[in-house]
Symmetry: C2
Subunit: 371 residues, 2 copies
Amino acid sequence: MATLPDLVSTDVAELTAAVCDVASVSGEEGTLADAIEAALAAHGHLEVLRDGDTVVARTRLGRDRRVVVAGHIDTVPVKDNLPTWRRTTADGTEELWGRGAVDMKGGVAVALHLAAALTAPRWDVTWVFYDHEEVEADLNGLGRLVRVHPDWVRGDLAVLGEPTAGGIEGGCNGTLRAEVRTTGRTAHSARAWRGENAIHKAAEVLARLSAYEAGEVEVDGLVYRESLGAVAVRGGIAMNMVPDECVVTVNYRFAPSRSTAGAEAHVREVFDGFDVTVTDLAGGARPGLDDPLVTGFVAAVTAVTGGVPGPKYGWTDVARFAELGVPAVNFGPGDPMLAHADDERVPVDQVRTCAAALRAWLAGEAPERGD
Amino acid sequence: MATLPDLVSTDVAELTAAVCDVASVSGEEGTLADAIEAALAAHGHLEVLRDGDTVVARTRLGRDRRVVVAGHIDTVPVKDNLPTWRRTTADGTEELWGRGAVDMKGGVAVALHLAAALTAPRWDVTWVFYDHEEVEADLNGLGRLVRVHPDWVRGDLAVLGEPTAGGIEGGCNGTLRAEVRTTGRTAHSARAWRGENAIHKAAEVLARLSAYEAGEVEVDGLVYRESLGAVAVRGGIAMNMVPDECVVTVNYRFAPSRSTAGAEAHVREVFDGFDVTVTDLAGGARPGLDDPLVTGFVAAVTAVTGGVPGPKYGWTDVARFAELGVPAVNFGPGDPMLAHADDERVPVDQVRTCAAALRAWLAGEAPERGD
């Protein structure tokens, strides 16, 4: 049983370290979820709900609008990078290093802190801390809530605390996964000429991937960069057998202006002549920066951070809200380029600035730097 | 506890079926080894020895020469092909179908029958029935005997009952396994351009394999066909990560005139520029058909079978004897092209002919067809 420090009085950067130090690789979020549930339950202005390893806390102030602030509590596997540690760079920036520092326990800590601290926010707020974001889409805790408890995630605007380096990122690319399969005929490898080697046939699949040039697509004023690459390859039966199957799994990230059908057609065209099976396909979300609710959020936050909105490359759960017709943006501490990297780290001041900006918007008060 | 039928009076094809029907996948040879030990112990002219699941039976007649007849009792996994069944082909050939029929319980049955039947062979004979041939080389039962009981396998000529379709196959190709590794830099696949895809780099490895043209090499009058191919490929960390490593495992089968160092140098040359790790390397064995002992064996056997010696492609334990300086050949029933195939089957007359030919040589008597 892990315990989190006091959510209100603890510095939010320190709170980030504490949240990171309770390891929560996808599928093993139980301990952290318990700690979050216990910490939030101590605050009487919140109704705390639980489903699996997802914890939801919400105010019931009768405001006419409700904001959803959501973040996933799982991480990719730990790679000798926990517990967290602090380092000061040559230019004096203090950083927090370790698994989850970027993706996305900084955002989780900001939400935990504000959930506890803001007893009377300007709008009703639903705080969502969910499981299984870093794995197959059908395990996603937010997706589960949408199916099982849709009222827990309803709102007029959603903010996802995914890493944006404190900037506002609108929309997101779509994502498609497909298996490109080659087949052959097995034989004992001592008489390899009797078989047909499926792995050798995959040479052309890899050659096309290697030569592929990804596009850049402008949507609602933001430029989305696409990509197509292998994420896995497997083939082989035994060390003395000619393999009769080889599967290259590819991941295509496509601009939100492209439909899912269009994305699939493109991948099938790239691998024309090969057996292609789409295993996972989720459309992107347009930036939505013309929505008045989003505009208000952008104005309040950029007043603190000084930034301008940009595109989100990664597919995020913003797209789940987009599907429900809820405008949604990404806003959180941490350089998204460092997400999943073994050396992920976040400048501690960035965590504090994000907390201050979000507080400014939710509380409608003038924040102090270093909140 | 399984029991084998009487080794002397039972038709050797029927005995093959009985030996097959006691399943003995590598690592699970105990039941069959027990049955073999019990069956041989009933014959007073044999000294029966046991080590693990290897059974050795030998005559001690004081002859001036000793022959070793050896065969492995394990098989690759059963694939819905036991118990055995008989089928007669359109051209009237009676076949025994099932796991082990080819590799190599026909040879085992021939040896069991002659071990029991030949109470006074022309030379002393050591009959070796060993375990763990179909798996990693360091588990091999014959290799274990060489280390632990070298006197059990000493002799002037060794005959391995591996499937040769009743022909004599001299020597064997060598085998080398190597991992060809490409490395890159991981990143989230949503921002693939930040990483370096190791799987894409393997395109060139597969292209070289695909274009590779294997040689044919003449050694002591026999032509050995070589091959080089992938037996496995693996790469990928997670479905949303740019992979930082890809490993292609290749298997090179090389003529016995090539040294192990020469084989390794060749593979390194083919994959020049890539990281190559040799994981398994065993030299071949020259045919040795100029050795007088082998010549005598060839003459006696081909007088019965009518065949001519050919090369052995697969690496077999002939090479273990070659290392000890003991000339060795492969001779046994069953089409080697069907070894490990789910539809392996042996013409029953071929089993009988092999028994007759081996008997002719060992007994120095005129055999009858259908012995």
